[in-house]
Symmetry: C2
Subunit: 218 residues, 2 copies
C-alpha cells in the first residue's frame, strides 16, 4: 500500500489507524499541505487526485492499482479486501450505527475545520484568529457533544464506540479529538468520548498513527 | 419505513432517491428546519436524533426498529437489507470509486453550505447575503469541479456516475446540483456532471424525490 497523506490531516490519520489495525504495511508519501501554498495543488498530485485533498491510497498489490480517495471510502475498501480484524460489525443495523458515528465526524465536524476552510475564513472573510478558533471550537463541541449523547444512551457501546474492539467509528473519532484539543475544546461533558479516546490511544495501532509520530511531523 | 426529513435538505433528498430506487414505500415525517427556530431542536426530535439533523430513518418492519442517522449510513443500510437494485457495484475498487464520489459531495461540499453553517456565517460572523452566496458558490464550484475531473478521466463512467444504472454516487450528486443551482453556480465547465444530472432527473425515482415534489415544500 502507498498512502499519500499529511501528518496533521485527520482524514489521513483515520486511514493510518485502519491500516495499522489491519496489520498492513504501507509506504508513507508526505504531501505538505502548508509548504509553498500546498503541495496538494501541484500538477503531479492533482493528476492522482483532482480533488487536491489528502489522503489518497494506491493498493500496489492489486491487479490494476487504482488511486482511491476519500478516507471513509478507503477504509471500507480495506475492510472489504482485508476482512480481519473487521472494522464494521456483521449486522446491518449495527453497521449503520458505526457508520453513523463515523459520518457524524466526517460529514458534520471535520469538513468545517480543515485547513482550506480556515484559510477561506481568514483570507476571503477576514476573520481573525480568535474568530477562527471560536468557529473551530463551536463545531467540535457541538458535534462531539452529539456523539457523546449517542454513545451515552446506547447499550452497544463498550470499551470502544461499538463493543470491545475498535471499528470505523473509533478510526474517525480519535483524530477528531486530537483536532479539538488544538483549539482547547471543552470535553468536560463528554465522559464516554474521553474514555473511548483513552482506550484507543493505549493501543499501538492508534498511537503509531498519531500526527506526532509521523516522519513529516514538524 | 419512516423518514424524518425536510423537503430542501439535500441529505434527506439523497435518502428519498435511494428509497425510490429500491421501490420501498415510506412515510414522510416533515421536520421543519426553519419554523420556530427549527423543529430539529425540539426535545422530541432530539430524543430520536441527538445530532438535531435530518434525515433520520426508522425501519418499522425490522425486528427491533432502531433510529438510523446520517444519510450515507442509511443508504448503505438500505442497500444491505434490500440488495435489489444494487446501489454499489460488486468489486471493492469500484465500490471505493462510487463511495469516493458520494463522499466528495457529503464530506467536502454539502457540510459547508447547509443551513446551520450559513446561519453561523450570518449571526456570529456578520457575513452579508452576498458574502454567504459567494461562500456557497465557492465550495460548490470547487467540489463539483473536482468531481467533473474524476468523471471525465474514468472509463467506468457511463450514463450515470458508474455505468448505466444509478448508484450511491448519483444519489448524492443530484441533490448537490439542485443546491448549487440555488446560488447560480457556474456549470459551464462540467459537461459530465450536467449530462448525468439530466439522465437522473429523467427517472421517476429522482424526479419524485425532488424538493418541489415533497408535501412540506413551500
Amino acid at each position: 500500500m502507498k498512502l499519500y497523506g499529511y501528518f496533521r490531516s485527520s482524514a489521513s490519520y483515520r486511514v493510518r489507524i485502519a491500516l495499522n489495525l489491519k496489520g498492513l504495511a504501507y509506504e508513507k508519501v508526505p504531501v505538505d499541505l502548508v509548504k509553498n501554498g500546498g503541495e496538494q495543488f501541484s500538477d503531479e498530485y492533482r493528476k492522482l487526485n483532482p480533488d487536491a485533498l489528502v489522503p489518497a491510497l494506491i493498493d500496489v498489490a492489486a491487479d490494476e492499482p487504482a488511486v482511491l480517495v476519500q478516507s471513509l471510502a478507503i477504509i471500507e475498501y480495506l475492510d472489504e479486501t482485508h476482512p480481519k480484524p473487521p472494522l464494521l460489525p456483521p449486522d446491518p443495523v449495527d453497521r449503520a450505527f458505526v457508520r453513523g458515528i463515523a459520518m457524524s465526524v466526517a460529514c458534520d465536524i471535520h469538513p468545517l475545520n480543515n485547513l482550506r476552510v480556515l484559510r477561506y475564513l481568514s483570507r476571503q472573510l477576514r476573520i481573525d484568529e480568535d474568530g477562527r478558533n471560536a468557529w473551530y471550537r463551536h463545531w467540535c463541541e457541538q458535534g462531539l457533544g452529539a456523539i457523546e449523547a449517542m454513545l451515552a444512551k446506547d447499550k452497544r457501546v463498550g470499551r470502544f464506540c461499538f463493543g470491545d474492539a475498535p471499528t470505523l467509528a473509533d478510526c474517525c473519532l480519535i483524530p477528531q479529538i486530537a483536532n479539538a484539543r488544538r483549539v482547547d475544546c471543552d470535553f468536560s461533558a463528554m465522559p464516554n468520548v474521553m474514555r473511548i479516546n483513552d482506550a484507543c490511544l493505549a493501543l499501538d495501532a492508534f498511537a503509531m498513527a498519531a500526527p506526532a509520530n509521523q516522519p513529516d511531523a514538524v
